[in-house]
Amino acid sequence: MRAKKINENVWVVIPAYNEAGSIGDVLDQFMNEDYSVLVVDDCSKDNTTDIILNYPVILLKHSINLGQGAALQTGFEYILNRTDAKYIISFDSDGQHNIKDIPTLLAPLKTGDYDVTLGSRFLMPESVKGMPFSKKIILKLGVLYTLITTRLKLTDTHNGLRGFSRGTLKHINITQNRMAHASEILDQIAHYKLRYCEVPVTIQYTEYSKKKGQSIFNSLNILWDLFFGRNY
């Protein structure tokens, strides 16, 4: 399907759990692009794994389900220990991200002026258009929470599309196995005073991604993880 050598400078990490409905479309996007792709299958119970194996990617498989944060960290550790990646992108598997945003994330990193780039849907008006109101409120509460706990002034704190330089990734250590890892990454950006910037990215709210997305109740779970994760 592709003859040219895959670019090993840029690695895209895609954590996936029971995403048989979308992972194929997501990986299709990468077929004609020049990125190395690493998928971390978090012990999916559907045929996600079989679909992934039809693509020219590297697959890491958790033998039990640990959560998205854990899957990301597994991907990061593989990339740091086994590859020469210069830039690492985290990309969701539910089909809401667009591969065309990756160069936007890479550009600030390549100048050497930034360590981390964070995708923000709020910087791109079209991304927010189809967003359910309740979702908007939850995301803004996340922004407020981040401002209070880390002093980082961001517009979108729970976007799975991020770019890291290799050196930065050594500082990032996700211990929150489940969804609270998004806040944990921001905590560490603040703690290590990493140079970060937000870039506008698109989010596609398909019926599928809406169904798979985080509900209000899960935000409470995330808060619980954050509080009790810290105290012990």
């Binding site: 399907m1 895959i6 039809n54 697959l59 593989y78 086994r82 012990y232």
Partner: protein, 113 residues
Amino acid sequence: MNPFQILITFFILILLVIIYRSRLILIERFIFMCILLGGIYFVFSPQSAQKMADLLGIGRGVDLVFYLFIIFSLFYFASISAKMRQLDRILTKIVRADAVENPICGKELPSKK
């Protein structure tokens, strides 16, 4: 000796055996068994709980036992949570090491490593 005292003592004795034969470390077993023996003592001699409560300025003996129960439960809950998180971390490490050690190549990927 009323039936209630017999019933409670029976259950506490079962617990005692369970604790004694458990895999808890010695000091934990000792603390648990002291608590259980204390429980039997209070069941048979409610007056002594009352005396102790008076000493501490708590209204009734039952209240004293109840407060002790709450404090102990919270303490135990916290220690179990800590233990669970520790296990969680170990499990994550093992699963992660296994995943990183055994990468699977998808179709048509140029061989590299």
